[in-house]
């Protein structure tokens, strides 16, 4: 089992993380079973290791967020706080068929976006007068007289 230690400053929601590698270490304990879900591993001390917040365990082929502590023997205790499932399964995950409902770059204008910050109170009002000659020309003969008989 080899542990690769990183410093990761990227948002946990990022799939394609590029953490900065700090070093590689071998566990010195436990010597028995190591949990895959939330492993706790002790490694030899190295000054740079205390900056780690992220690790990769090749045996499990998973990335973990990690909490670093130093025990009384001066060893570094790495306690996984959670598995980074996005990074761990990045390759397969990117192939997954999905229906995307919100996107930073692929928005569709026609889809109603109820979260768009539109003012509930302010409204822009405009008007367009539509000109016509019918009603706006001086009427020369506006009367219609209907009579019985006549020339009709």
């Amino acid at each position: 089992m080899t542990i690769t230690l990183y410093h990761c400053s990227e948002d946990p929601k990022t799939i394609k993380k590029n953490p900065t590698i700090i070093g590689v270490a071998k566990p010195i304990s436990p010597t028995g079973i190591v949990s895959r879900d939330l492993p706790v591993i002790t490694i030899e001390y190295a000054g740079t290791f205390t900056d780690a917040n992220y690790m990769y365990i090749d045996t499990f082929d998973r990335f973990y967020y990690v909490s670093v502590a130093v025990d009384i023997a001066g060893k570094i205790v790495l306690t996984a706080t959670g598995c980074d499932v996005l990074k761990s399964f990045q390759t397969d995950l990117l192939k997954v068929p999905v229906t995307v409902v919100r996107s930073e770059t692929a928005g569709i204008n026609e889809v109603v976006d109820t979260q768009l910050p539109i003012s509930q109170e302010k409204i822009k009002r405009r008007s367009i007068p539509l000109s016509n000659d019918l009603f706006n020309t001086q009427s020369a003969s506006p009367y219609v007289l209907t009579v019985i008989g006549g020339n009709g």
Binding site: L94, V100, S103, I128, L130, A140, T146, G150
Partner: protein, 810 residues
Amino acid sequence: MSVNQNVYGNSAGWKKIGSMTETDRDKLFLMANFGDDTSTLHDGVLKGKLEYDEPIDKSLSWCGLGNESTYSRVEYWNRVFNEYTDPSTGKVIKFEKYKSENRLITNFAWIFNSDVSPSLGIVKYSRTDGTLNDYGGFNRWSPDPAFFNNQATGNCNSDLKPITQIPVQNCVLVPVLRVRDDLTTTTAGKTVYLWEYLDTNNTVNYTNNPYITAIGIGVYTYLNSSQTTRTAYLTSTSSASGVTVLDELNYQDGEPRFYDVPGDKMGLIYSYSANYFGSTTLARLIFGTLTLGMNSVNNDKVQLVNATQSGNGGIVNRSQIIPVLPHPDAQWTDPITSNLNTRIYYITYYDGLKEWIRHQIACFGLFFTDDQATAESGALDSDNMLLGTLVDGVGHGDYTSGEANRDQPQWDWKTTNDSTYDPKNPPKIDPNTYDDTSGFNNLLNAPRGFNARYVLTPLDVKDLNTDFFRALESKPDDIDYINYSMSEFLTNDPLNAIVSLKWFPFTVPSYGSETPIKLGNYNTTVTAKQYIGSGVETYTIGEFDLFPFFGGSFLDYEPYSKTSIVIPYCGTVQLDHSIYMDTHVSVHLTVDIYTGACTAYIKSNGLVVDSVSGVCSVDMPITGIDNATLEGQIYNASLNLKSSKISEGTTIAGAGLDVGTSALGLSKKGVSRKIMSGLATAEALIGAVESVNQSTKNLAQNEYNVSHVQIPLKTVGAQSGLSNAKQEQFCRVLLQRPIFINGSQSLTAWYGSGDSSVYAHTVGYACLKMGKLSDFTGYTVCSNADLSGINATDAEKEQILKLLQSGVYV
């Protein structure tokens, strides 16, 4: 779908047509094999594959011909010269369009026949008992009504051989025309390819032979793989090939089969011979008359039956219906004035003819061209090679050309048997005809009744008012007012001659020259033009484009954006953005000149969507002498006066008599009256004097009444509201648009603001797209994902799904 091999034989045994030397069967034209190398429909019956009086299997139809095809609109014309009365039914028959088909989809087959007479067309028929061949198309009331009919000449379908395979990659269709240079003789026409006809250097071309009597489809093919030039194939002169309709025909339904057997009516039929559209001059017609079964009918002319003639030329012995593949502009003409029962069905060349032909051929869904070089050697994706487009297997006349041919499914067909079209279960076709514009009724001519309508200026109204009050002045002295009014104004009151006076907020159109305004028979001194229009005038009173201010996004639609339009005299209408957005909006006002009612129609790109009604005239009341009342009052007053005068004389005489008789104690009417006392006599004397005084008083009063009859007035109509006329006299569009919280008033401004990028990165824009996650970048929220391909635990998958649904950065 493939041709049904249970009916038409195993495909491996289908027979080659004609002289093709090709050995690859996928490149051959093949026909049915009902067994023992027999191919005719008659053979099919003998082999037990087909049944008389039953429609043959439709699987021969590799596509459907849409309603646009002439095969879906076949017309049937009666074939009688002049009029003829059917002796069995009494029905008058004359040369006219008798019926026409109007199918949404027509199933068809290409049929081949090698027994052709160049002069008479296809005339060789086998009787169902297999005995004889019959020649000629005589002795039939109509094109043979059924698959088999012993009373007719025989089974006319029997010699027709259904084509079961067309090598799609080795078949190029070309248009062929039958044309002529005159319409006054029966000289035979000329057969030319369209490319020849359009070439003015060609001997026969559209300029010197402008009349087209038939259009057919020729076939070009490589006779074998070693050839580099396609040649004409399935030509008509030696081996006629035509198209026949496989669907039910109803044009004979209910008609007598023979004149001499009046009770023998025909019903729905499946008569392939009657609809075999091919001839000795042109194969596979798409326009023109039909040769089969009719003597002296070919692609040049038709011979109508002379009802008065006996023998073969007579009505008993001739077919009575002429099937026609129509063209919208086609006409009939009589080429010989001395023999009017010969007629020519034709169109005259026009600029759009080539395109019309293309659309018709395209319905068959095969490769075709009207370019000679392409027909002879062009690749199937060359520029001038066309390919009919099939929508759900049905050809509606559209086509592709060149490289685009590769995108059509037929590109991958080897033969027509690769089609997936199922003629037994054709697709649903929308039968509606769409026309997204609407107009107004230009034929309206509203009834005018007994009224006349004059269009007046304000001065005219003033003058008429003056004139009208003088109307009674012209009454002759020897005629009373009532009779004068009746004769002049058609009523006992002149005022009743006026029905209404309306004011409109625009110049009312008038026509003709000015004439005196006539009330009944009375000519006023005022002249004016009359309104003699349709009764309803139409005006366009505004138009604008409803601009998608937010680029057509959801912000351009309700409830975010709204538009209403205020229309004078009609009110306010809110426009539905889902209909009007990004269209040209126009407002049209129709005004009923008779009543003043108006309706505004609002159109979106020429189509009426909304309407709202109102009133745009004002009724003007007219007040005048109520002559009828006046006459009545004068009459009554005069009557009272006369009565008073009579009463006064009588009273004075009576009073004297009363005094005398009282004094004498005698009754003035006889002895029954008792003698009154002295006091009573004195009272009677006083009363008599008072009575005389009262009569005199009544007379004076009635004389006064006669000379002081009050002139009664009457008002026609009532003043109606004018307040609408004070509003703006034009339409006004009111627009309401949203504003972003940061103040941006357009998408451009929003996108230009820093807020938009933050919003995109942290919230994301609404989106409904499907794809792989890697197709997206940046902040992405998924509604769902298929995680079955990921080798993670269930808990991990659940975690992944929650992350995708709450948003991740890709």
